[in-house]
Symmetry: C2
Subunit: 345 residues, 2 copies
Amino acid sequence: MKKGSLPTLSEVARKAGVGNTTVSRVINGGERVSPETLARVQKVIAALGYRPNQAARVLKGHRTRTIGMIVPSLADPFFSSCAEAVQAVARANDSLLIVTATQNDPHKDLENMKMLVSHRVDGLLIAPANSKSDAIRDLAARISIPVVTLDRPILNSTIPAVLTDNYQGARCATEHLIEHGCKRIVCLTGESTLFTIQERMRGYRAAVEEAGLTCTINTSVKDYKSAEYAIESLLASAHQPDALLTLKNSTTIFAFEVLQKLNIPVPQQLALIGFDDFELATTLRPAVSVIQQPVEDIGRVAAELLFERFEDGARAGTKSRSGKRPVTLENCLVRRSSCGCPAHS
Amino acid sequence: MKKGSLPTLSEVARKAGVGNTTVSRVINGGERVSPETLARVQKVIAALGYRPNQAARVLKGHRTRTIGMIVPSLADPFFSSCAEAVQAVARANDSLLIVTATQNDPHKDLENMKMLVSHRVDGLLIAPANSKSDAIRDLAARISIPVVTLDRPILNSTIPAVLTDNYQGARCATEHLIEHGCKRIVCLTGESTLFTIQERMRGYRAAVEEAGLTCTINTSVKDYKSAEYAIESLLASAHQPDALLTLKNSTTIFAFEVLQKLNIPVPQQLALIGFDDFELATTLRPAVSVIQQPVEDIGRVAAELLFERFEDGARAGTKSRSGKRPVTLENCLVRRSSCGCPAHS
DNA sequence: CTGTTAGCGCATTCAC
DNA sequence: GTGAATGCGCTAACAG
């Protein structure tokens, strides 16, 4: 073995005094090889520190045993938890996970897809920045490898999606607030262009209108300052709210901080429910009630769906028909104190 | 193009009526190709949706333009933030990032290394579960690709490491507590086998002993219950502590929750500083003072070091001599309220 | 049970 | 400027 480069199969074969095929058989399970040869070859492999070169296998038309995952950000606990689950499934299927981040830039979605295709990943998991992107749909249709979206779908496409029931979740949260007697529930969205947020808005609106209440949606919260401004304005208005529904994590936290700063009694003066759970929600005072998404499940199910398709593809040839409708996972309302429920434990 | 399989370079060549070489030139920058041919080939490439097959390039002895990263868990904000930074550097170097998780199982460290080598990653970033592992050191020495460790080193090896100054950080936190007049500072470690934790213990011990105070280390905290037991015992003892130093994130949070539950005035009765910052540290009441690690920097610097080595390798042939000593990043004390400092802003 | 052979898709000589 | 030929490391027929 030349220094600086890894040993190859033929080197192993030579040193072991056998043919290439035999070595190949050994590294692929050792079937049809006599015990002595097997042992000898394995010894040489160990001695040389030989590792089969995946690239060569791939070239022979085999799977790369890698999958790609495209998410907005790995630093986001939601997606990093998804990624962890995906990684676990990949590992269970003897595959590796390649992750890329887009910062919600739709352009990078495409760029990353192309790059991953170039590396011949066996399949792709995407949380697309733009659910209305025809470009992604079209590209996905061409690359001839399975694609599954998670958290957000690609609309007008047949790409399988694993989502949570954002509509129902927000609706349920709103109804819960109404049960607590809240009459003027304001919805703080944070950036409102994402599919998930829009679904949640729909859910909020449905619940509010059904109860004959007024729908008030504020999309201006981007950081602490904008939250402060928004909430102060709300409190100063004639139509003072008695509850807040925040549609994403950061919005929930900004709102909480503002309420804490202003010394607003929560939930007495203003109840609060946030969409999406976060680590210290139970530690804050009051503990924050939230709609909790099954984060690990999203990743796990999406990855499982992807690996299923590999099997299907191997068997059936073309596309599997396994459900064109998205898989929708249930969210659940976690009642802590900020909504008005009694504190427990 | 046969359905179910991606188009190849020769298919492009055929449809464009040119030779393979020409297509190859086009996809590699388009040098030495006449404008017309260039345009024609590019059109065919677009029409076919052709993407060069990385595997084939690799087989020709080129880099895979992938790097591997082995971390305990992606769900841990610390490592996912590192991973995000690494990913960004990889991307800037036109490379992809493959991540694997070990759950701190030393055996999986090795397993993952082998798998990644098989995929011919250009380099490896590892946060090893066991800093004393000779197996990792030996394997790293054989695989002939650059390896850099982060957060934790491999002791007794020349593998470059990017660490933070755990010793100094804990020492600094302890000294700060002492400046606040604390006399009986108890250190809660949480699992104490990790290299980082042991360094922090050293720092705590050094500061405490230097001040002529008693060193009390409790390694029993694993969850809320054990934290409750530990803290209640401490408070019931004759030698009642007046400050807590918690050496890892989860320990800090368990401790905080217990103190909150027991209604212990913080910092009046018991001051608290935690090692490692966390998202809601400023939102809690009191806001938790912490030693903050430059998380993104760890990932960024480690990745940059890795890519530097590729250049070096290409130039120098053998190993680069760029610093055998670990790169140590500074931590910083973030003074919030729980240590006794006045609340600000 | 084992070896020989022929490509997989591409980059790279070297001629034209 | 361009193309034909060669081989990277490996697997999959086929022989033996």
